[in-house]
């Protein structure tokens, strides 16, 4: 167990390092103009620009810069934002925005699990009948229609219908509801479709017939055997999904003006805010890797056939 965990942590560290180094170097290939805000660029003369760039440290060779990044990291200092939130410490920026994404994300995830798993169970239980058909229609709509369309629909029409605010207000809980639901819609579809599928797979297995032949009522077979086994392949994804809620949703946060993490990485990249990009990439890759690792550990707990020594578990969904 100990050896396995160490080995996996070592692998995770390597993965994260490669991701961060790659992004770090790619950023250094960008044109230097990108480090200026428009006004700054216009207002500075040639020398002032050079001094500014030297001050930022982007004129040194990339490996020196990377060394500086690492030593900062060791001290818990990820630098200051350059262009997106000029001169604010990156950690403060993240610390301020992350809670919004996290809370919305966790609420939406809880909603997706509750409704999605419930819908999946209904679809499997009433396969080829009305609940299954209705569920399939829902899943198809959510997946086939571009999310922008139904997200706008919810924002425009549902808020009008209910008389609710169209944007997020921190002090008005009613304004939190629609963003959470919007955020959960695709998760509900995901859970429903995969749970249905895994349950139907399990239902057709021989051990279910044997359980029935032992005289167990169908409901008990569904609960104690089919549902239980069908949840196993999904369990693997729980930790990842929980951890990555912190990344937020670009679309929903911008529609409802939620000051979360959603658009942060995109604007940081577009505005060449190196320290911010680096910090976010580091954060997301660590969370991603840790999530996968925890998922694998969880699989060992729920599936007695999987041993720790084996490499990552087998799963399905994506």
């Amino acid at each position: 167990m100990g050896a396995y965990v160490l080995k996996r942590l070592g692998q995770s560290l390597i993965t994260v390092s490669i991701v961060v180094l790659t992004v770090f170097l790619l950023l250094r290939l960008m044109p230097k103009n990108g480090y200026f805000t428009r006004e700054d660029y216009v207002n500075m003369d040639r020398d002032a620009r050079t001094a500014y760039l030297r001050n930022l440290g982007v004129l040194d060779d990339p490996f020196t810069q990377f060394g500086r990044f690492l030593s900062g990291l060791a001290r818990g200092d990820l630098g200051r934002s350059i262009t997106v939130y000029p001169r604010s410490p990156v950690l403060d920026v993240i610390g301020e925005k992350a809670p919004y994404s996290l809370w919305f994300g966790l609420a939406a995830l809880a909603l997706s699990m509750a409704l999605g798993l419930g819908l999946g169970i209904l679809m499997a239980r009433f396969k080829d009948r009305f609940p299954d058909g209705a569920g399939t229609v829902y899943v198809t709509i959510v997946r086939a229609i571009p999310s922008l369309i139904w997200l706008f629909f919810i924002q425009q029409w549902v808020t009008a219908l209910l008389g609710w605010p169209m944007v997020f207000y921190e002090d008005r809980p009613v304004s939190w509801v629609l963003p959470t639901i919007s955020l959960a819609l695709s998760g509900i579809a995901w859970y429903a479709i995969w749970l249905r599928r895994f349950m139907v797979d399990e239902e057709n297995k021989d051990y279910v017939k044997f359980a029935v032949s032992k005289g167990l009522p169908w409901k008990r077979v569904m609960r104690g055997h089919v549902l239980r086994n069908a949840l196993v392949p999904l369990v693997q994804y729980f930790p990842q999904q929980i951890l990555l809620t912190i990344a937020g949703s670009l679309l929903i946060e911008s529609i409802y003006s939620i000051p979360g993490m959603g658009g942060l990485l995109v604007s940081a990249i577009r505005q060449q805010d190196n320290p911010l990009v680096q910090a976010l990439v580091l954060l997301y890759s660590v969370l991603g890797v840790v999530g996968v690792f925890l998922g694998d550990l969880l699989m060992v707990l729920v599936d007695p056939r999987i041993k720790l020594a084996e490499s990552s578990g087998k799963g399905a969904a994506a």
Binding site: D206, F210, S213, K214, G215, P217, P304, R305
Partner: protein
């Protein structure tokens, strides 16, 4: 029929709907199961053996239904059962079944002990402690060593033979009156097969169960069963004691089946195999279903379905050959050879290759 009949099947018709068409899997099957006996059901694959057994537990696949006929058990007609509640009094409690493949019959994510316990607790109304004790007792009864340890293990920690023992334990833990074994050894190693057969035999004796033993291997019949029912194309076409059916088979299909026994082959001669294929179950069968494959079929075989003709009190067959008007047609040479063989020592022993390794042998 006789007073000691525990289960009586009459004219059972079962069909399945398959992509808009109806497939008739049982076309008026009839059978008597007597208390305390082992009845072997034999026949080519696809002849309806498993479908027949599943009707006793109300476990036809969802696309199937019993169209007509009766299954009398303890004064009740199981063929009329259609609610789960009705079946729950029978399934696993009074009639239990073990399936062909022990590798897939157990839930891989639950301990073996728990899978036996859940049924025992349900049917015998026992609490956790008491039902656990029953499971441990049953595990050792079926020859699983170290029951305490095995109780906590998962199916993948069991070998194939041990798994089949666990499946058998789950089936007999509730002391069913009838145990249906649907090709219980087909998926196992030859050496293990003999042990499982022995186990079933000794459990039957100890627990006083009636066993319906489905197999397509005629070789094991004599070693496990007292009586045989031969199925062809959704009907039982001959039923009698092992001796009667092996010594004095009357239906041409039984002849053909016996003639294809590998044990009857003569070195250097090609083994007999039945030519052709059974009739399509999608179509109405006219006459004797075996007639098109029977080189010596009578004219009437193609026109009218043969009724049941008694051969003796305990032996009957469905073939026009037993009609007093029929010409005299002898069983083929190979089948008569079997008779000689049987007279010398018994086909069963020859066929199973000395099946008396003690139970609980190493696996």
């Amino acid at each position: 029929m006789s007073g000691d009949t525990i289960l009586e099947v009459r004219d059972l018709r079962v069909s399945f709907s398959l992509r808009g068409r109806r497939l008739t899997a049982l076309r008026g099957a009839g059978l008597d199961l007597r208390k305390g006996e082992t009845l072997a059901v034999v026949g080519e694959s696809g002849s309806g053996k498993s479908v027949l057994a599943k009707t006793f537990l109300g476990m036809l696949d969802r696309n199937g239904r019993v169209d007509s006929g009766s299954i009398l058990f303890d004064g009740k007609d199981l063929a009329r059962y259609n609610k789960e509640r009705e079946w729950l009094g029978i399934r696993g409690k009074r009639i239990a079944m073990i399936f062909q493949d022990p590798m897939t019959a157990l839930n891989p994510l639950k301990t073996v002990g728990e899978q036996i316990r859940e049924a025992a607790a349900l049917h015998r109304g026992l609490d956790r402690v008491a039902s656990r004790a029953v499971v441990l007792e049953t595990l050792s009864r079926v020859g699983i060593p170290e029951p305490e340890l095995r109780y906590r293990q998962y199916p993948h920690e069991f070998s194939g033979g041990m798994r089949q023992r666990a499946v058998i334990a789950a089936a007999v833990a509730c002391r069913p009156e009838i145990l249906i074994c649907d090709e219980p050894t087909t998926a196992l190693d030859v050496t293990v097969q003999a042990q499982i057969l022995d186990l079933i035999k000794s459990l039957q004796r100890e627990l006083g169960m009636t066993v319906l033993f489905i197999t397509h291997d005629l070789g094991v019949v004599a070693s496990v069963a007292q009586r045989v029912a031969v199925m062809y194309s959704g009907q039982v076409i001959e039923e009698g004691s092992v001796r009667e059916v092996f010594y004095d088979p009357r239906a041409p299909y039984t002849w053909a089946l016996l003639a294809s026994l590998p044990q009857l082959g003569v070195k250097g001669e090609e083994l007999y195999s039945i030519k052709g294929t059974p009739p399509s179950l999608f179509k109405e069968v006219v006459g004797d279903a075996f007639a098109p494959r029977n080189p010596r079929a009578l004219e009437v075989d193609f026109k009218h379905e043969p009724p049941v003709f008694p051969v003796s009190d305990t032996h009957w067959a469905r073939t026009w050959l037993l009609d007093p008007r029929a010409p005299r047609i002898e069983a083929p040479e190979t089948v008569r050879r079997l008779r000689a063989r049987l007279a010398r020592g018994g086909a069963g022993a020859a066929a199973t290759g000395g099946a008396d390794t003690g139970k609980g042998g190493a696996e």
